[in-house]
């Protein structure tokens, strides 16, 4: 799976071993490490805090915690609203992943191989939903659905999610395609394979890691998506982040903590799966 390593990754790491041992300056080094560890604490402590509150049995958010209980998890899993939202979020995320992966991977193939004029501009356009405020995508789609009088259908929400997740698939697939040895396809065709057979037996298996990585990103981004959903969900049919947000406006109890832990665990399972199957480092590039 290392064949897909992005070219932009620091290739200088190997040269590090030639470093001459400079004069020891321990204080500067300690300060450097101390600052960095403080930053890591800042990044990770809030996530740890969520777990603490999910397990703390008091009815209000209270610190320091007084014990460990699973009552908030019971409340979360017993709540019809939360369970409906969780199910709806998973449904939307799965539909989004399927459409974003199919569209994004084929677009990447066309961009890398189709000799399209203005390919750079098209790539920039397809990546633009990452930089443009998602809340604008939500607002614009909401206004369009109102004008066309289509209501707030699930496909409308999935279309919005597909738009904001497609860039991830395009990017990871393009990264793989750019490191692709074209001679492999030529060899297959020289040996008598038709272009279609070459595609399914050579091209597709080789770009699979990139497509898969994009699909996993698409799933996570869709599952956590908020601003687009905010405009496009209908009352009674909300995604989990919207339900959590509405709950948070009025209540601040451990149920939110439990719901958070469930979604964190879900994201981690997906990411560890990603790391195990295709390797994470190659795709983390902004």
């Amino acid at each position: 799976m290392q064949t897909t390593a992005s070219p932009s990754l620091p290739a200088t790491r190997q040269t590090a071993s030639v470093r001459a041992p400079g004069p020891a300056r321990p204080y500067g080094r300690y300060l450097y490490l101390a600052i960095n560890i403080a930053i890591l604490v800042f990044l990770l402590a809030p996530i740890a805090i969520v777990v603490v509150f999910a397990l703390n049995p008091t009815p209000f958010i209270q610190f320091p915690p007084v014990g460990v209980s699973l009552r908030w998890f019971e409340k979360f899993f017993a709540s019809r609203d939360f369970m409906h939202a969780l199910g709806f979020s998973l449904e939307v995320a799965v539909l989004t992943t399927l459409s974003a992966t199919a569209l994004g991977a084929s677009a990447a193939l066309a961009l890398a191989r189709g000799n399209l004029p203005g390919a750079r501009l098209i790539v920039a356009t397809m990546l633009s939903p990452l930089m443009l405020p998602a809340i604008l995508t939500g607002l614009a789609l909401f206004q369009t659905y109102v004008l066309l009088d289509v209501g707030r259908p699930t496909w409308g929400l999935v279309a919005g999610h597909t738009l904001v997740t497609l860039p991830y698939v395009v990017r990871t697939t393009l990264a793989v395609l750019h490191n692709f040895d074209l001679r492999l396809e030529e060899a297959a065709q020289n040996l008598g394979a038709s272009p279609v057979r070459t595609f399914f037996e050579v091209t597709l298996p080789l770009i699979k890691p990139g497509v898969l990585a994009g699909a996993i990103f698409a799933f996570i981004v869709s599952f956590d998506q908020f601003p687009v959903s905010l405009f496009l969900v209908s009352p009674g049919n909300e995604t989990l982040p919207v339900t959590l947000f509405n709950y948070l406006k009025f209540d601040l109890d451990g149920t939110i903590g439990a719901a958070s832990v469930v979604s964190i665990v879900l994201a981690f399972v997906v990411v560890i799966g990603l790391d195990r199957t295709v390797g994470l480092r190659s795709y983390v590039k902004l």
């Binding site: 600052i35 990044l43 399209l116 443009l132 604008l136 614009a140």
Partner: protein
């Protein structure tokens, strides 16, 4: 890219069509409609007579309240960007220079973990930390540093803290790619010639990483000015930013035209940032070709 070797599109080019259709129908058309709505007197579907108007934009420019909202949004974005840069840079530098593979993987997981935790969840975490009876205040009071809880939530400071936490990973990942490309031997050469590590960093690494600083800052700024959840929950509905105002115009006032006009303002600011971001990234790749 091989697009320069042959000029005629081949059969594979057709694979772009489904995505092109998606963008046309669900991106360009809606944003175009938003632009149109921002200069109309009403909803052309519901109302029989609509006319062209600039009243939504005039209202925005004429009322100090709306200008104040735009300025608050930009101010929060700027402070968030600067803080994210200040704390993102050291971590990015460590990630780019760390020798052990395991160490690098652990740092990467630490940076990605917050990114993979939803925005609503992370904002909830900061509410539990920053509220009057939150972790920070309880800890400081029990240690006797303060007798009254500090007002951390429902302030711009609280919003900035939350936003920095949410967007600093984007800064780190952008910077670490750029710093990683700077040849470490340049720093060593400076040190061998007698510069202190700090001076070698300030005079060699820092100037070479400026394109990364620009790209990361523009990205974080663009994300921060369009944030909704964090400003509304940590600001407690008391601090108004552009995205909050836009949603309020839709949900409470149902003033679609004014919301569209506000959306266009946010869009124009964002588009300018996208262009600048691509320029900054162009500088990065130009630098890579030089090496």
């Amino acid at each position: 890219m091989n697009s320069t070797t042959a000029t005629r599109p081949n059969g594979l080019a057709l694979f772009i069509l489904p995505s092109a259709l998606l963008f046309a129908l669900f991106f360009f058309l809606p944003i175009g409609l938003m632009a149109v709505m921002s200069v109309l007197t009403g909803n052309p579907v519901v109302m029989p007579k609509v006319a062209f108007t600039t009243k939504h934009y005039v209202r925005m420019i004429g009322d100090p309240f709306y200008l104040e909202v735009i300025w608050t949004t930009i101010r929060i974005g700027l402070v968030t960007t600067l803080v994210a840069l200040a704390i993102g840079y050291p971590l990015a530098h460590w990630m780019a220079r760390i020798k052990s593979r395991t160490g690098h993987a652990l740092l990467l997981i630490a940076v990605l973990a917050p990114m993979l935790t939803g925005i609503v969840v992370r904002t909830f975490a900061w509410m539990t930390l920053l509220s009057d009876k939150g972790v920070v205040n309880e800890t400081l009071m029990s240690l006797g540093f303060i007798s009254q809880p500090l007002k951390l939530m429902y302030t711009e400071t609280g919003i900035v803290v939350g936003l920095v936490h949410i967007y600093v990973p984007f800064m780190v990942l952008t910077l670490t790619g750029v710093i990683g490309r700077i040849d470490e031997r340049l720093e060593q050469a400076a040190e061998n010639l007698g510069a202190s590590p700090l001076r070698a960093f300030l005079e060699v690494t820092l100037p070479l990483s400026v394109p990364g600083i620009l790209a990361g800052s523009l990205l974080v700024f663009a994300l921060a000015i369009s944030a909704y959840v964090t400003p509304i929950l940590l600001g407690g509905f008391q601090i108004m930013t552009l995205p909050i105002l836009i949603y309020q115009q839709i949900s409470a006032n149902f003033n679609v035209g004014f919301a569209a006009a506000l959306g266009i303002v946010l869009l124009v600011i964002s588009l300018l940032l996208v262009v600048a971001y691509n320029r900054a990234l162009g500088l990065v790749s130009g630098q890579r070709e030089l090496q």
